[in-house]
């Protein structure tokens, strides 16, 4: 998958000589928000989840200890997945109604409703959680089976199974709704 926006942003970062966190932020923020939208039941919460993942990464100072720059992105993906799984997302949604900081940059409601009207999003939300995660990581984030297994904390065999059954289920749901 080639993300031209990400490529441009990466160039900006290189020119600016920004640190690792800034680099991860500029290059991957948008794609992680979109990944979260595929994992969560509420599209409105996806930005909160991704921002929380970045805050955790920064708070842990993990980046300073990582030798592999890709490990930072892997950490972010895993954290986004875990936050999407956990009940924290419900608290984040609740907290969203009383934000500490005004954020004019938040995704507008029009974009959210457009996403939620998409048939494939509705179909994804009918899938069992693990199938949905496997499909999103394999076919949206373009991870390999091994990388998907690592992020989900399951074996490669399980990823194959979730993906295969998830695609079948997705096809059935989309067929019914069309």
């Amino acid at each position: 998958m080639i993300d031209l926006n990400a490529m441009g942003a990466r160039e900006d970062v290189r020119m600016a000589g920004a640190d690792d966190l800034a680099s991860l932020y500029v290059v991957h923020y948008r794609s992680l928000v979109r990944l979260a939208a595929l994992l969560l039941d509420e599209t409105a919460a996806c930005e909160d989840v991704v921002q929380e993942a970045y805050v955790r990464l920064a708070a842990s100072r993990r980046l300073e200890r990582l030798s592999d720059p890709d490990a930072g992105l892997a950490y972010l993906r895993t954290t986004v997945l875990n936050l999407a799984r956990s009940s924290l997302r419900r608290r984040l949604v609740a907290a969203r109604h009383a934000p500490l900081v005004h954020r004019p940059d938040r995704v507008d409601d029009g974009a959210i409703s457009t996403v939620e009207r998409a048939a494939v999003i509705a179909a994804m939300r009918e899938l069992p959680r693990r199938m949905r995660e496997a499909i999103a990581l394999r076919y949206y984030a373009d991870l390999t089976e091994a990388q998907t297994a690592d992020v989900m904390g399951v074996s490669v065999g399980a990823v194959k199974s979730y993906t295969s059954r998830g695609l079948e289920r997705l096809a059935q749901i989309l067929k019914v709704t069309q």
Partner: protein
Amino acid sequence: MNAIDERAIREQLQRAVAPLDPAAPPLEELRARAARRRRLRYSLGATVAVAAAAIVAVVLVVVPGGGSSRIQVSQAPSEESLASYAAAHHGKHVAGPLETGSGYVGAYATKNAVVIARYVDGAWQADGSVARPHGAGQYILRLSGGESVIPGHASFAERDKGGDVTYFGGVFYDDNGTWRDARFARCANRELSCAYPGTGQPYGHVVGGKFVSIHNDCTPYCAAGTEYRVTWRWDAASQRFVVATQRVIKR
């Protein structure tokens, strides 16, 4: 056969979330939130450490015979002393103390590593650590120690539990002063899932001093897969575990 074209689903997913085009908030805002969280964590950690130190001091002063027991502890550390040390360093799932040829060692898990502590001059101190690739504390580590796992080496078997169904297992050991993950013969990786590529739910544990793992071939799918029980033997020449026995336990 997949009932839906993989390329089609890629395109549909990309198209569906494309309208989400968030302008990221200033990074400084997130950095400030991270800094606040770090300060809170440090202050909580300091409070716990001070409280633990106060409790230990009270026990040593008030409990009759506290002075003599302290001398005893310096010879053979208690599980409690190791647990206190681990707690003061944000550790959990404590294993040990384990007596080795070079003194007592213990281990505990932190968010992204297993830390090995050594008992030196009446106090625990960090001796090394083994990074855990999954990190982030979503895995529960259960540690058990014994020199029988890798003969002649202080070693700990480890079980990582992820989610609600998946188990991994591994062993780490003292390789002449450096703590390492033990490798397995069928791959160059430490993980059992690598030792049996493509299998599901590898699960490692110690039985009768031997490291044993259970693998599911997930064929045609995991619930109906064949399960194998594998006993591993440490091969000193190649410095890795090799399969000693393998048998089917469930078809």
